[in-house]
C-alpha cells in the first residue's frame, strides 16, 4: 500500500498533503496549549489559595486587602481575567510575578537555566549508566548481574529522592566534605558571575572565574547524581525489558546461528531495534527533569524552575503559574518533535511514511 501511494502522489498533491498535515500539526499544538491554559486557569481559580493574603499578611485591614485585590485584577469576572491574560500572552507579556516583583519572563530566564543545567547532567548520568546496566541485566537474565541491577534500580526508584538528597548531603557534604553545600555555588561566590548563557558552569569559564567554576561543580554533582539515580533506575528497568523482548525474537536466534559474536548480536542487532523506544523513554525522563525536581531543589536550595513554579502555585500567583505551565507544555511538545525526528533517523520505516 505504501508503495502505491508513493508512486501515485504527484508533486502538487504531495505539496498539498504536506501543507495540510503541517497545518494540522501546528493546529494541534495551538489547541493543546490553549487547552492547557484553560485547564491551568480553572484549576488555579478553584484552588483555595488567596494571593492577596500572601501579599498583605493575615492581619491586614479590609481596605488594604481590597486595594491589593483590585490591583491584581481579581475583582474582574473570571472570563475577563482569562481573556486579559491570553491577550497579554499573545503580545508576549506574562505580567509580573508576585514572588519577585519582576516580569515573569525575566524570572523564567533566570531560573530555567539552573534547572536545564542540573537536568542535563542528571540525564547524561541516568542514561549513561541506565542503558548499559539494563542491557547487562537483560543479557545475564536471572543471573547475579541481573539480580543486582534489578535490586539496585528498584531501590533507587522506590526510595524518595529527597531522602537520598539529605543522606547525600550528610555523607558527602557534612562528613566527607566532597561536595559543596546548597545552592548553585558556595554562598560567598554568589553574584560574582553575571549570567551570559545562564549556565553557571559555562559562564564561569567564559569569564575566567575558575573559583566559581569549581564551586559550581562541587555543588552540582551531588544533586545531579541523586536525580540521575532516579532516572537511571527507570531507564535501566525499561532497557532491560525492551532488550529481553528483542533477545527472544527469531532474528536474534538466526544471528546467533549465523555465528555472530555475542557482542554483535547484542549491540548490532537487538540494541539497534530498541533505540526508538529508548529515545522516547529518555526524552520523557528528561522532560520530567526539566519540569523541575521540586523536592531536590528544596533540599539543595537550588534556585530552579520547579521551586519557582511551586512557590508561585502556593502563593496563588496565576501569572507565573500559567507562564510556567505553558513553558512545560511547549517543552514536552518540543521533546516529542525531537523524538519524532530521532525516530526517523533510527527507524527507516518511519522515514518512508
Amino acid at each position: 500500500m505504501q508503495t502505491m501511494s508513493r508512486t501515485d502522489a504527484s508533486p502538487r498533491h504531495r505539496y498539498w498533503s504536506n501543507l495540510v498535515s503541517a497545518t494540522g500539526f501546528v493546529g494541534s499544538i495551538v489547541v493543546t496549549l490553549f487547552g492547557l491554559l484553560v485547564l491551568t486557569f480553572v484549576i488555579g481559580r478553584m484552588m483555595p489559595v488567596d494571593p492577596v493574603l500572601a501579599i498583605v499578611g493575615d492581619e491586614a485591614s479590609q481596605a488594604t486587602y481590597d486595594r491589593v485585590y483590585a490591583r491584581l485584577g481579581l475583582d474582574q469576572p473570571l472570563y475577563v481575567q482569562f481573556f486579559r491574560f491570553v491577550s497579554d500572552v499573545l503580545r508576549g507579556d506574562f505580567g509580573v510575578a508576585l514572588v519577585s516583583g519582576r516580569p515573569v519572563v525575566e524570572d523564567i530566564i533566570r531560573v530555567f537555566p539552573a534547572t536545564i543545567e542540573l537536568g542535563t547532567i542528571s540525564i547524561i548520568l541516568g542514561a549513561g549508566l541506565g542503558i548499559p546496566l539494563g542491557v547487562l541485566a537483560a543479557v545475564r537474565r536471572n543471573k547475579l548481574p541481573d539480580y543486582l541491577v534489578r535490586f539496585l534500580s528498584l531501590l533507587a526508584y522506590s526510595t524518595p529522592t529527597f531522602w537520598f538528597g539529605l543522606m547525600g548531603l550528610l555523607l558527602f557534604y557534612a562528613y566527607l566534605g566532597w561536595s559543596g553545600g546548597t545552592g548553585r555555588v558556595e554562598v560567598y561566590y554568589s553574584g560574582l558571575v553575571s549570567p551570559i548563557t545562564g549556565f553557571l558552569l559555562i559562564d564561569s569559564i567564559l569569564v575566567g572565574e575558575w573559583d566559581v567554576f569549581w564551586s559550581a561543580l562541587r555543588n552540582i554533582w551531588l544533586p545531579a547524581t541523586v536525580l540521575g539515580l532516579n532516572s537511571m533506575a527507570y531507564i535501566a528497568r525499561m532497557t532491560r525489558s525492551f532488550m529481553i523482548d528483542q533477545l527472544g525474537q527469531e532474528y536474534v536466534v538466526t544471528a546467533r546461528i549465523k555465528g555472530l559474536s555475542q557482542r554483535q548480536v547484542i549491540w548490532r542487532h537487538a540494541f539497534r531495534n530498541i533505540r526508538v523506544q529508548l529515545v522516547t523513554i529518555v526524552a520523557l525522563a528528561y522532560g520530567g527533569l526539566l519540569e523541575g525536581a521540586v523536592l531536590i531543589e528544596t533540599v539543595f536550595s537550588w534556585p530552579g524552575f520547579g521551586g519557582y513554579l511551586t512557590s508561585n502555585l502556593m502563593m496563588g500567583d496565576m501569572n507565573a503559574v500559567m507562564a510556567c505551565t505553558l513553558l512545560v507544555g511547549v517543552l514536552f511538545i518540543a521533546l516529542n518533535i525531537l523524538s519524532d525526528i530521532l525516530y526517523r533517523v533510527f527507524d527507516p520505516r518511519t522515514r518512508a511514511a
Partner: protein, 532 residues
C-alpha cells in the same frame, strides 16, 4: 579514555578536599540562611512578614530604634532626641545632622515626612496602623509638620504618645526613604512603588547589592553610615527552605546564622559547642479560638468549658519548647501591665459541668482548623484529644496559611488553632488592638485585621476600659487599668484563649558576636562581629 576519566575524577576529588579544608565563612562576611518564600517586596510600605522586616531594618533607618532586650527602652535612630509634651498630645523628633543616604543625599526631615505620607497614599500594609491612630491622608498635613531639623507631630485622637513613638521604630511604618532618588524612578505618580519593590533607597548600615527572589540577597556595607561602618563588609542571605540543610551547613561552618530551624534540629544543635542557640520571647501568642457567631460558642458556658479542656501544661512541656512558653493572658510578657498566668489547667469534670449548663451535656461535633505544620498541628491534636474527653468531637482540618486564616477573616470558621495577637510594639495596646478591642461587630464593618472582630467577640465596656487605659497619663494608674482590662477579659470568657507566648529561636556559630534577635523582627546586623 579510561586514563582521562581517572585523571578528571582525581582532579575533582583533589579540588574537593582542598576546598573542604576552607569550609568556613569569610571573617568579614555574615552568611544567613532563611526561607525567602515570604519576601515578596523590599518596599518598606508594603512589607508584611518577619523575613522582609529583617532585611528592611538593615537597609533603611527609622527615626528611633526599639531596644531588643529592654522592651520599654527607645534608642536614637535618625532622630537623636525627642520630646513628648506635658499634655501628651505633641511629639517632637529632632533629627541628627550629617546622616546621608546611600546615594550621598543628606537625610532630611522632609524625606521622613514624604516617606510617612507615602504609606498613607499607597494604602499598603503600613497604612492600617497609622490609620488606627487617627492619621489619614486628609488630616496628615494638619498633624505633621517640619520645623528646622525637627518633625512636630500632634496626635489626631486621644492616645498614648509612647505608642506613637514606638511606631517610629517600626520599619513598615516609619522607614525613611531617599525621596529624591525614589522620585527619579516614579512612574505615573506611583511614588516609585514599582521601583522600590526591587530597589532600595535607604540610609541604613547596609545597601542592597543584589536580590534574586528565592535565592540570594546580598547587602554591602554602607561605609558612610552615620553610626559608623559595620564590622561586616557584606551580609549574604541564602534561601534555605529546608531546616535540615541549615543545620548541616551550621555544623559545617558554611552558615553563620540560621533562622527558623525546626525544633528537632534546634534540639540537636543545642548540644553542639560550635553553635549558640538564642531563644527570645517574641510577639504574639499561640491560641485556640472559636467563632462567637456560632450559637454554641456565643454561649459563655461553652467557652468556659473550653477553657478547661486545654492541656496547657502538657502542650507547653512536650510540644512548645523552642516555639513558645506557657502564657494564658492577652498581654505579652515583659510589657506594661503584664500579669501572672491565671493558672488554668485541664479539668475535664469542670468542663463537663459547664457543657451541661450550656445544654451540651453530650458534647457536639466541631471543625478545628490548623496549619499543617508544627507546632499548630500538634496543638490541634492535643486539643482534639482533650475535647473528646468531654464528648466534643473535633475534626481537624489542615491547610496552608490562606486556607486556615481565610475562613477566620471571613468569620465562617468554627474553631481554630492559630498564632497572632500583636506585640511588635512594647505596649499593651498593641495586644489590645489585635485581640481585645472590637469597635464594631457588624459584618459590614469588615475589620478582618482584628482578631476580636474575627472571633465576633464584642463588649462595649471592655472596649471603653481598654481605650481609657490607652489615654491614661499616669504610668501607675495606666498599669492598673491594663490589669483591670485583663481581669475583665477573663471574666467575660473571651472567644480566644492564649496557650503560649511565641518564642523565636535563632542558631548561630559561636564566633558570631553581638547577634541579638529582636522581638519585633528588627534584628540589626550593624554591631555583629566575628571573633576569629
Amino acid at each position: 579514555m579510561r586514563n582521562t576519566l581517572l585523571a578528571a575524577l582525581t582532579a575533582i576529588a583533589l579540588s574537593s578536599t582542598s576546598m573542604a579544608a576552607m569550609a568556613a565563612t569569610p571573617a568579614d562576611q555574615l552568611v544567613v540562611g532563611l526561607s525567602m518564600s515570604n519576601i515578596l517586596t523590599l518596599d518598606p510600605a508594603a512589607i508584611a512578614g518577619r523575613e522582609s522586616t529583617a532585611v528592611i531594618t538593615n537597609i533603611y533607618d527609622t527615626p528611633v530604634q526599639l531596644d531588643a532586650v529592654e522592651r520599654a527602652n527607645v534608642n536614637p535612630g535618625l532622630a537623636e532626641s525627642w520630646e513628648i509634651s506635658e499634655d501628651g498630645t505633641t511629639i517632637t523628633l529632632n533629627f541628627r545632622q550629617g546622616a546621608t543616604f546611600a546615594s550621598g543625599n543628606p537625610v532630611t526631615v522632609e524625606d521622613a515626612i514624604w516617606s510617612w505620607k507615602r504609606i498613607l497614599e499607597l494604602e499598603l500594609v503600613g497604612s492600617a496602623t497609622w490609620q488606627s491612630y487617627g492619621f489619614s491622608l486628609e488630616n496628615f498635613d494638619d498633624h505633621v509638620r517640619a520645623e528646622g531639623n525637627s518633625i512636630i507631630v500632634t496626635m489626631p485622637q486621644a492616645g498614648d504618645p509612647l505608642l506613637i513613638l514606638y511606631m517610629f521604630g517600626k520599619p513598615s511604618a516609619a522607614s525613611v526613604i531617599d525621596s529624591a532618588t525614589a522620585l527619579q524612578h516614579e512612574v505615573d505618580g506611583d511614588k516609585a512603588a514599582a521601583w522600590l519593590t526591587t530597589n532600595t533607597a535607604g540610609s541604613g548600615p547596609f545597601v542592597l547589592r543584589n536580590w534574586t527572589a528565592n535565592d540570594t540577597i546580598i547587602l554591602d556595607r554602607n561605609d558612610a553610615y552615620w553610626g559608623g561602618p559595620a564590622a561586616m563588609k557584606r551580609v549574604l542571605m541564602r534561601h534555605m527552605p529546608e531546616s535540615q540543610t541549615k543545620r548541616l551547613m551550621l555544623e559545617r561552618g558554611d552558615l553563620d546564622v540560621g533562622l527558623a530551624l525546626s525544633v528537632p534540629d534546634i534540639s540537636a544543635l543545642s548540644s553542639n559547642g560550635d553553635v549558640e542557640v538564642q531563644s527570645i520571647s517574641s510577639s504574639g501568642f499561640y491560641f485556640l479560638a472559636v467563632n462567637m457567631k456560632d450559637g454554641r460558642f456565643a454561649n459563655q458556658e461553652t467557652r468556659l468549658a473550653l477553657r478547661y479542656l486545654i492541656d496547657y501544661q502538657g502542650i507547653n512541656d512536650t510540644i512548645m519548647p523552642n516555639y513558645g512558653v506557657l502564657h494564658q493572658r492577652p498581654v505579652s510578657p515583659g510589657v506594661l501591665g503584664s500579669m501572672e498566668n491565671p493558672g488554668y489547667t485541664l479539668d475535664v469534670e469542670k468542663a463537663k459541668e459547664h457543657l451541661a449548663a450550656a445544654g451540651y451535656a453530650d458534647g457536639f461535633a466541631v471543625k478545628l482548623l490548623s496549619l499543617n505544620e508544627p507546632p499548630f498541628i500538634d496543638i490541634a491534636t492535643s486539643v482534639q484529644s482533650t475535647l473528646a474527653q468531654a464528648g466534643i468531637q473535633a475534626e481537624i482540618i489542615t491547610g496552608t496559611g490562606n486556607q486556615v486564616y481565610g475562613p477566620m477573616r471571613e468569620r465562617t470558621f468554627e474553631m481554630i488553632v492559630g498564632r497572632g495577637g500583636g506585640g511588635q510594639e512594647p505596649h499593651p495596646h498593641s495586644n489590645m488592638q489585635a485581640l481585645v478591642i472590637n469597635p464594631d461587630n457588624s459584618d459590614d464593618a469588615g475589620l478582618s485585621g482584628l482578631i476580636g472582630w474575627r472571633t465576633s467577640f464584642y463588649n462595649e465596656d471592655l472596649n471603653n476600659l481598654a481605650l481609657s487605659a490607652l489615654v491614661e497619663r499616669d504610668p501607675a494608674a495606666q498599669e492598673q487599668m491594663y490589669e483591670d482590662v485583663q481581669l475583665m477579659y477573663e471574666e467575660l470568657v473571651p472567644a480566644l484563649q492564649p496557650i503560649s507566648a511565641v518564642v523565636d529561636t535563632v542558631v548561630f556559630r559561636s564566633d558570631v558576636e553581638g547577634y541579638q534577635e529582636h522581638y519585633g523582627w528588627t534584628t540589626r546586623y550593624h554591631h555583629i562581629e566575628k571573633s576569629r
